[in-house]
């Protein structure tokens, strides 16, 4: 956590020791799930599977299936402890996973659109994908600069 999320590691040091362990567990969970989106290139299916894996294990943390939790995942073990001792709201964990999943899904329509425009326009240049539909509006709003 110190390497991946220095700011929160530093903040955790200043917390009371009771809170620190749970805080680090939550932040590690965040680092793990955020890295899913960053590691996806092109194909989103493996990313979605990993988000679903987290969804399943979070569900197990909250139901009585804690003994079924997969072994060998230190972040998961810490998170399960934090959930048990600190009464964390499941809603926030789920919302965070929802956000990661939407982040993965948002890829698809856009890539299709770009793929289509690539097929139909012979001179399509990546990076020149023009979004300048609202020029007349923008002229009014540009006066600050």
């Amino acid at each position: 956590l110190r390497q991946k999320d220095y700011d929160y590691w530093l903040a955790g040091l200043l917390m009371p020791s009771k809170a620190r362990r749970a805080f680090y567990a939550v932040r590690s969970f965040n680092v793990e799930t955020a890295s899913i989106v960053d590691s996806v290139r092109g194909n989103v299916i493996p990313g979605k599977l990993r988000v679903q894996w987290w969804r399943d294990v979070v569900h197990k943390c909250y139901t009585d299936g804690r003994s079924d939790l997969p072994q060998g995942y230190p972040v998961l073990a810490c998170l399960a402890d934090a959930v048990a001792t600190h009464n964390l709201s499941r809603r926030w964990l789920d919302k965070s996973l929802d956000a990661r999943e939407r982040d993965l899904e948002i890829d698809q329509p856009q890539s299709m659109e770009v793929a289509l425009s690539f097929c139909t326009r012979p001179f399509f240049v990546p990076g020149e994908y023009d979004l300048n539909y609202g020029r007349s509006l923008s002229l009014v709003l540009r006066r600050d600069f």
Binding site: L10, P16, S111, F118, G127, Y129, N132, D144, F145
Partner: protein
């Protein structure tokens, strides 16, 4: 064909609402969890004002994360500046993404014939014009101002005051209903020392937006673009002092 183009597809949040939802779900939730982590040590449930401050702080942290990572996301074919913000300023993806030169895609180059390849090389060399740069900066500036407003709002809420320009905010936010309720519940509450610990890392976002403004909203300025580099190398001492000051109640984590 799809394989080749997937590498440069541009991901844009279609609406600012989507961006707001992302910030709320991904970042504000984490601050709320941090508050819950502190609850047993304090021996009470977090106050309503802390929950509302988490909402605002989550927006600031989310925007800082997305803007700071622009270059890293671009390598993945993603851009998180919302489409409506770009359109409002007439900004083009190319101008926001480009620092030095357009992205290259070797797989795509190989698929093109000589004539097209020449045309593309020429366009790649074209510098982004001054007006394009201005439009891109204006779009970034809008996000930066939004984040700074959220920081100011979080600061005000933790002091027990209503956020600045509350009515305007309620008009602009899609969550007006619940927002008005929680603002009413939070008014007059001051978020005290142990709860403030959950907000310490927000100081990084405050510093980032201050620096972004100083550098004229240029996302690609060397001082602002450490996203491939580890963050602790980025101005460590001011941040450490700030965090310590905020932990001891000497300073607010939401201001620079």
């Amino acid at each position: 064909m799809v394989e080749a183009s997937a590498s440069f597809c541009v991901v844009i949040f279609n609406l600012s609402q989507e961006l707001s939802k992302y910030c709320d779900d991904a970042h504000a939730s984490m601050i709320l969890l941090a508050l819950e982590c502190l609850a047993p040590a304090v021996g009470a449930a977090p106050p309503a004002a802390a929950d509302l401050a988490a909402y605002h702080a989550g927006h600031a942290v989310g925007l800082a994360t997305l803007l700071r990572g622009t270059a890293a996301h671009a390598a993945n074919g993603r851009l998180y500046v919302p489409k409506d913000v770009m359109q409002r300023h007439g900004a083009r993806v190319r101008a926001v993404l480009l620092g030095p030169e357009p992205p290259q895609d070797e797989a795509l180059d190989a698929a093109l014939d000589e004539h097209e390849l020449d045309a593309r090389r020429k366009r790649r060399k074209q510098p982004v014009s001054t007006s394009e740069r201005k439009a891109a900066k204006a779009a970034v500036a809008e996000l930066c101002r939004a984040a700074q407003w959220h920081l100011a709002a979080a600061d005000a809420v933790t002091r027990g005051c209503p956020p600045p320009g509350l009515q305007r905010a309620i008009n602009a936010q899609p969550v007006a209903g619940w927002y008005a309720e929680s603002a009413a519940a939070a008014s007059g509450q001051v978020v005290r020392a142990p709860w403030r610990l959950a907000f310490l890392p927000v100081a990084r976002a405050a510093q980032y937006f201050e620096a972004l403004e100083e550098r004229n909203f240029n996302l690609h300025h060397a001082d602002l673009w450490p996203s491939p580099a580890p963050i602790e190398q980025h101005r460590p001492l001011p941040f450490q002092l700030k965090v310590l000051g905020a932990a001891w109640g000497l300073a607010s984590p939401f201001t620079v």
